[in-house]
């Protein structure tokens, strides 16, 4: 399938600083692509070029095949931008904010009104639609911010750290709606510095640092880069040797080792294997005191690639 977004060798400098340095990636329809990196990595600058707000110094970004940039007014119709900072008028109501940006997208009554109602439903603000945005909670403002990006049903939705400063409940609501959107065939570009969000939402993830893509792939592909694997530790008593032998026969289990009170397994996919591993061990008469599951995460990938922690 043709890429909804294709970035080819994007470079953007601010003075001597290369904020974005040779960034290339593509996103297909229905795919959610994550840019994961710490503050200052170049995520927002990349997004500004993708959304046609900044011209790249070098390289080109194409949306549905057409180059995007400040002058490419018509191409911008296909993009919905959800900026990192709230971009709403606090002295307008939620409904007025939506209607205003809808009109800028060329939408007209009565379609506009119908679509505003739909979006209010999606972002859960139907009850508060008539209140001024400045009276909203932080999470509600964030949801309105996202709603504006969805209004015109863009082919590419670009979300720049949409959950920053949001309470856990709102965050969950936001993540769920993003999941639903990519399910509808929208291509989503999602930036974050939270690895859990990237892991949960994104089909593919690029790790960005100092303006450069350090690695790109599915979550599992990235995890493999570290050379680490999932681990299950069974702590307990009984015949640990017999339990280890029994566990070796399970599919998905790679290696099994044991000492006096712990059986350690390396496995492919720890979460799905915990249940069979435990029942097999119990069937082999091991009495369990504790089960520990550990898996490498994107945090370890970032550490592996850059020698630094993701959050500093």
């Amino acid at each position: 399938m043709a890429a909804v977004l294709a970035c080819e060798g994007l470079v953007r400098r601010f003075g001597d600083l290369a904020a974005v340095d040779d960034v290339s990636f593509t996103i297909a329809a229905g795919e959610t692509y994550g840019l994961l990196g710490p503050n200052g990595a170049g995520k927002t600058t990349t997004i500004s070029m993708v959304a046609g707000l900044l011209d790249p110094d070098v390289g080109v970004a194409r949306v549905l095949g057409d180059p995007i940039g400040p002058a490419a007014v018509d191409v911008k119709r296909h993009i919905g931008l959800v900026p990192q900072e709230l971009a709403i008028y606090p002295d307008l109501t939620g409904r007025e904010n939506l209607a205003f940006f809808g009109r800028l997208q060329g939408m007209r009554k009565p379609d506009l009104e119908a679509r505003v109602d739909e979006v209010l439903e999606v972002i859960g603000l139907v009850d508060r639609a008539g209140d001024l945005a400045k009276e909203y909670s932080g999470g509600m403002k964030r949801r309105l911010n996202i709603g504006i990006g969805l209004l015109h049903q863009p082919s590419l939705l670009v979300l720049d750290e949409p959950t920053v400063g949001v309470d856990p409940q709102s965050r969950n609501a936001i993540l769920e709606s993003v999941e639903a959107l990519s399910g509808e065939g929208m291509a989503v570009l999602y930036t974050t510095h939270y690895m859990e969000e990237a892991e949960r939402l994104c089909d593919r993830i690029a790790i960005i640092d100092h303006g450069r893509l350090q690695a790109e792939g599915t979550r599992d592909e990235l995890l493999r880069l570290t050379g680490e694997v999932d681990r299950i530790d069974l702590v307990g008593s009984g015949d640990l040797g017999a339990a280890a032998d029994a566990l070796r026969g399970l599919s998905g289990v790679e290696r099994v080792a044991h000492d006096g009170h712990t059986v350690t397994l390396t496995v492919h996919d720890a979460p799905t294997l915990v249940a069979p591993v435990v029942s097999t061990a119990v069937a082999a008469r091991m009495s369990l005191a504790d089960v520990e599951v550990s898996r490498p995460d994107l945090e370890s990938v970032f550490l592996h690639l850059t020698g630094r922690a993701l959050r500093d």
Partner: protein, 387 residues
């Protein structure tokens, strides 16, 4: 166009939602209406003149001035009169020497010295003086012509008075200096001052529009607008249009208020309206340039007031352009106030219509045509700056 209207409409909606703006749109202009009315309206502003000299001609000049509505005091020396004017206790003095009187009696051309301050009040007084001197001159010309036709002086005067009472009065200066009188001719109540003040106020008030653009930029709304199918020119035009409507409302309100309440004469309403529209368009465009160039609302309001006052002074909103030396006048042509001043002068003093102010309207339109794209270009550049 939809985008421009959407942005302008939203700007206005937000403007009206802030109640404190009502003061600036409806109350403050009303204060200005009262101020202008008291200064330049039909009733107020009686001129105070001094007539120096005791001859027949001096008597005639004094009577003429009194008939023309001025308060007249007599006598003293030229120096006394100058001092009185300098202290602001009188607006103008007419100096009539014995030689002037003799020449006048003989029907020769006479040049009277007029001493006037530089306040707008003094200019008004000067105007009254020159009109009255013209009348006196005409009367004398009439009497002399009758005498020349062989009618005895007493009968000639009596005959002349009967005719003058029904005949047309000719208000044209034949005495005193020069271009100034000509320039201000027809400006009976000095309505020019009101025009100067409207330009000054409307321009200042429009510059506040810079703050609204800066605020939209700070809120990130401008960025978001531009991420949609909207050009920087449309954003700037939309923001400018919103501010234009506010400025024009204020200006029209002041014009209508001073005309209705105080009888200030604004001339042809269509022509005056056209000048106001063109001037407000330039003002709003200047605001967009500042709004794209500056990143802080506070800096913008400070710069706005400063620039607003300097440009107004340079453009003839404080001291009339007629009093400018030539080189300053040339510089002043870069200000929109200059062209609005000229246009209003044409309309209120010489009864001009839209056709007569087309050059000024053209210059103002050209200024808008340059400033708006400049604002758009600056706005585009501002996107690469961190706010």
């Amino acid at each position: 166009m939809t985008a421009v209207l959407a942005i302008a409409g939203t700007g206005l909606r937000r403007f009206l939602r802030d109640r404190s703006n009502y003061f600036f749109v409806f109350v403050f202009p009303l204060l200005l209406v009262v101020l202008i009315g008291l200064q330049f309206g039909g009733e107020g502003g009686e001129s105070r003149a001094i007539v120096v000299g005791g001859s027949d001609l001096a008597d005639q000049v004094a009577t003429g001035l009194e008939d023309g509505g001025a308060t007249v005091s007599r006598g003293g020396s030229v120096e006394d009169a100058q001092e009185t004017i300098a202290r602001g206790r009188a607006d103008a003095a007419v100096v009539v020497t014995e030689a002037d009187d003799a020449a006048f009696g003989a029907g020769e051309p006479v040049e009277l010295d007029v001493v006037a301050g530089s306040s707008t009040q003094a200019l008004a007084a000067r105007q009254v003086v020159s009109v009255e001197l013209g009348r006196v001159g005409n009367d004398q010309r009439g009497v002399l012509s009758l005498e020349a036709a062989g009618i005895p002086p007493d009968e000639a005067l009596a005959a002349f008075d009967t005719v003058a009472a029904v005949g047309p009065t000719v208000a044209r200066s034949t005495v005193g200096d020069d271009s100034l009188d000509e320039a201000f001719a027809g400006l009976g109540q000095f309505d020019l001052g009101a025009a100067q003040q409207v330009s000054l106020f409307v321009f200042l008030a429009s510059l506040a529009g810079a703050a609204s653009l800066i605020q939209s930029r700070q809120l990130g709304v401008t960025r978001r607008e531009l991420a949609g199918p909207v050009t920087t020119t449309q954003v700037v035009a939309g923001e400018a249009l919103g501010r234009f409507v506010v400025a024009f409302t204020q200006g029209a309100y002041i014009v209508a208020g001073t005309a209705v309440l105080f009888g200030v004469d604004w001339g042809d309403p269509v022509a005056t309206g056209a000048v106001l529209v063109a001037f407000c368009a330039v003002s709003a465009s200047v605001a967009m340039v500042f709004g794209s160039l500056l990143d802080s609302v506070n800096v913008a309001s400070g710069v706005g007031v400063g620039v607003g006052l300097v440009v107004a002074a340079l453009g003839g909103s404080m001291l009339p352009l007629e009093l400018f030396p030539d080189n300053l006048l040339t510089v002043s042509a870069v200000t929109p106030h200059h062209w609005a001043y000229e246009a209003y002068a044409e309309i209120t003093r010489r009864g001009g219509g839209v056709g007569d102010v087309l050059p000024q309207l053209g210059v103002l339109a050209l200024m808008t045509a340059i400033l708006l794209p400049l604002g758009a270009w600056l706005l585009r550049r501002s996107l690469a700056r961190a706010l």
